[in-house]
């Protein structure tokens, strides 16, 4: 199978999955919205009965009241889209979502009702926080991991492994709470809430943002880099035992060149995959971590949407995450196929 054919196959595959997932999430969220709309409609109808309905009952009698009530109910059902069958709504919603028409929210968030605009405000903030942190993690992780692999069994290697195992079991949001306690409450170095100050502009704004980013970024790096270093170390140790490294060593290639030229290149495919997913994952933000730091990014937005039952926003965000994930899969496959020719001809040719 040629590279291009392989690529087209992967992309078509991703689109198919995206279609199905869009229908599934539409079905799920429309169901939830239907339930809440039903109760909203009954509430409004009761309200009407108590005020206008009561008036009609008094002046025009019970028959006119029944008629008026039926008319009111019909108009309300239309307003809350309860007169359309469930599957038709799911279909409409899914098609509109695929066309990137997410609709509006019932309450304004970030000063707008348009779901696309809201997402456009939140995404850069999450990028700022998590992508910065992820880049730091990648650099730190790769560097320390390679170092540990070179000196496998040393004190440095062992302490790095222990640190990685410890941080692997820590929930990031809890670590964030602890860091807030230590660095923000006790020492007062950082702010207790990372919500930006909307009044500042220019240089003052940049300073404000940097100051508020510092603690969340530090938390993320602290929890994640150990695992990265450890994984890099394991991959590198595996590659360093391969025959071609031995051959290079026997030829007298300098160690520095063996590590960074030969071994790291051979170990690249899995590491690149990890990097792609880490970077794409960083766009989504982390719901709970952003909640803990009160950071106004994607994760917190998701939570707000859930709390306020903003179905359109929820579908928009979920769709966004799904597209990101699938793009990551395709991208990772592309890079993998590019870096490792065996992928296209080996077992995966039968995929």
């Amino acid at each position: 199978m040629g590279y291009l054919k392989y690529l087209v196959f992967r992309i078509l595959n991703a689109i198919l999955v995206l279609l199905i997932v869009t229908f599934i999430i539409s079905a799920l969220f429309v169901k939830v919205a239907e339930e809440s709309n039903q109760s909203k409609m009954y509430e409004e109808l009761m309200q009407w009965e108590r005020t206008e309905g009561a008036k009609i009952k008094q002046t025009q009698g019970i028959e006119a009241f029944e008629q008026a009530k039926a008319a009111k109910q019909a108009s309300l059902e239309e307003k809350y889209e309860l007169n359309i069958p469930y599957w038709e709504k799911v279909y409409n919603k899914a098609v509109r979502t695929l066309k990137l028409d997410f609709g509006t929210t019932s309450m304004p968030i970030f000063g707008t009702n348009n779901v696309s605009d809201i997402i456009k405000v939140a995404v850069p903030r999450s990028i700022l926080l998590f992508t910065t942190a992820t880049i730091i993690v990648i650099i730190l992780g790769l560097f320390l991991g390679v170092r540990a692999a070179r000196h496998a069994g040393s004190v440095f290697d062992r302490s790095l492994s222990i640190f990685a195992l410890l941080t692997y079991s820590l929930p990031m949001w809890w670590t964030g709470m602890m860091f807030l306690l230590i660095f923000a409450f006790k020492l007062g170095w950082f702010p207790l809430s990372s919500m930006f100050d909307p009044q500042l502009t220019g240089w003052e704004h940049v300073k404000d943002v940097l100051w508020k980013l510092a603690l969340p970024v530090f938390t993320y790096v602290f929890v994640v880099f150990g695992g990265w270093a450890w994984t890099t170390r394991n991959i590198m140790i595996g590659t360093l035992q391969e025959d071609f490294i031995m051959a290079a060593k026997a030829k007298g290639v300098p160690e520095h060149k063996i590590i960074y030229g030969h071994a790291l290149r051979a170990a690249a495919p899995p590491i690149v995959t990890m990097i792609i997913f880490a970077l794409l994952g960083s766009l989504g933000g982390a719901i709970i971590s952003e909640l803990v730091f009160n950071y106004p990014g994607m994760g917190r937005l998701y939570w707000v949407a859930l709390q306020q039952n903003e179905t359109n926003l929820l579908i928009g965000l979920t769709y966004f995450f799904t597209v990101l994930y699938l793009a990551g899969v395709v991208l990772a496959d592309m890079v993998y196929g590019f870096l490792d020719p065996r992928v296209k001809v080996g077992a995966s040719a039968k995929m």
Partner: protein, 486 residues
């Protein structure tokens, strides 16, 4: 495999495992954790989960106070909880109609504040002549000889609870007394500033220096401790002892501490130590159950997919991708929130549904290699069915790998459960670490500095995670020398 082989293999494995220091450490930790979880009803109390929900049960505890051992690290020592029952009190009867109850409380030197409050309950009154109901006066006799009248002529009934520190009438009396001592004048209750009474700590000034010439506001703001022996005096007057009886045998006087127990208390006065101990049960159960179930499902799914090959494989992998590409945490939150009533079993099912995909992928890629081997060919030639080949010939090959995966995926499951509980979607009838942290976040414990409420539950999660990571990496090293997980 024959039984003897299994026995041999197991022995060999044990020998190797003994050499892995990290694995041994993990097993020791696991044994401790299991013991703690199993003995929770005996080491704390048998029905904590039901009591955890009722705020009334914890009323005799101080609220938001750190553990007692914290005193070792601070210069400002915090008094511990002290409870008096009938045997620790001096009860005398000066006349037929009078009873005096005295509690000796010592406020030792070096401690920063007096108690957080005093709660008196358990006076059983049988009323037959309500017009002549017994009344009670309460005084606090201080080491400097001053006497604070806390309550006068309080009518007693069976449900009378005196709560010094939470009762505004008593706080008003304390304020009036302070003005009287410092300025020498008598004020009426209407002259007492209401905000001060309701907001500030009115118990600390009772155990602080109050001298003529001092400023009342300053005493309230920054009380200087007055160490020494205090006496809380209850004078009960029962004008008709023949009709109305007062029974003192159940009396309980709690001098609320400024520190409490092993782990302090939360905003309802709940003993956090007990909560932490009970939380280990849920954490361990969910972590192990979810990882075992999702590993089994993932293995069988991946192997089946690889073995069937062709269109079935294609179809099964698409389903796998669909599950993998749905963002799981938001969907979990949504399902949990709309279901309303969530049980632990439901959480396990949800986490398994969204947790088997990765294992299925790895299992599939491993099975693809195994299925090409000749003995599978041979088995098929002999007429073995698909099910037999999958379960008898391919799956056992993956078992060692499975054990490592199970151990290594426990931390993820524990964190996932804690995250859901933290967001308020958990089994309301269980006590979990996530729920304790949820309450801490809701009461903004971090921004108030209540470290004893935030630190232990997270450490618990970390310890459970570490235990299984240690065991998992040790297993990984022994059982899969060539299979390096990415």
């Amino acid at each position: 495999m024959r039984w003897v082989d299994i026995k041999e293999g197991f022995k060999e494995f044990l020998e190797e495992f003994k050499r892995e220091k990290t694995g041994i450490a993990g097993v020791i930790l696991l044994v401790i954790l299991v013991l703690v979880a199993l003995t929770a009803p005996y080491t704390t109390m048998p029905d904590l989960p039901t009591k955890w929900r009722s705020s009334a049960y914890w009323e005799d505890n101080p609220k938001n106070v750190p553990p007692s051992w914290y005193n070792m690290f601070t210069s400002q020592k915090l008094v511990p909880q002290q409870i008096y029952y009938v045997d620790n009190l001096k009860i005398s009867h000066p006349s037929d109609t009078e009873t005096v109850i005295e509690a000796d409380y010592s406020f030792p030197e070096g401690y920063y504040y007096g108690p957080q409050g005093i709660i008196i309950r358990g006076l059983n009154v049988t009323l037959k002549a309500p017009s002549q109901a017994p009344t009670m006066d309460i005084y606090l006799l201080r080491p400097d000889g001053k006497k604070i009248p806390l309550l006068k002529d309080k009518q007693l009934s069976s449900s009378t609870t005196i709560s010094i520190g939470r009762d505004s009438a008593i706080s008003t009396n304390v304020y009036i007394w302070m003005v009287n001592v410092t300025e020498g004048r008598e004020i009426t209750p209407f002259e007492v500033p209401l905000e001060t009474i309701l907001i500030s700590d009115m118990v600390a000034p009772m155990f602080a220096k109050v001298e003529p010439g001092m400023d009342v506001e300053k005493i309230i703001e920054n009380p200087e401790p007055l160490w020494g022996d205090y006496k809380l005096i209850l004078e009960v007057k029962n004008p008709a002892p023949k009709y109305n009886q007062v029974d003192y045998s159940n009396i309980k006087m709690s001098f609320l501490g400024r520190s409490y127990g092993t782990m302090g208390t939360d905003y309802l006065g709940r003993d956090l130590w007990a909560g932490i101990i009970w939380g280990s049960r849920v954490s361990l159960t969910i972590g192990v159950l979810v990882s075992v179930l999702s590993t089994i499902i993932g293995l069988v799914y991946g192997v089946t997919s690889a073995y069937l090959g062709g269109n079935s494989d294609e179809f099964m992998m698409r389903i796998n991708e669909i599950f993998a590409s749905i963002p799981s945490l938001p969907i979990l939150i949504l399902i949990g929130a709309t279901m309303g009533h969530v049980t632990l079993w439901f959480i396990v099912v949800l986490l398994v549904i969204f947790g088997w995909m990765g294992i299925a992928r790895i299992a599939r890629s491993m099975a693809l290699q195994i299925k090409e081997q000749t003995y599978i060919e041979a088995a098929r030639a002999l007429g073995a069915g698909n099910g037999r080949i999958i379960f008898k010939h391919i799956l056992p090959q993956l078992l060692p790998y499975a054990f490592a995966v199970i151990a290594l995926s426990v931390p993820g499951a524990v964190i996932a459960e804690a995250s859901l509980s933290f967001l308020g979607i958990g089994d309301p009838s269980a006590v979990t670490w996530g729920q304790i942290l949820n309450a801490a976040q809701a009461q903004s414990a971090t921004t108030k500095g209540y470290w004893w409420w935030v630190l232990p539950p997270g450490l618990g999660i970390a310890v459970v995670g570490l235990t299984f990571v240690l065991i998992g990496t040790a297993l990984d090293k022994i059982l899969n020398p060539r299979l390096r997980r990415l």
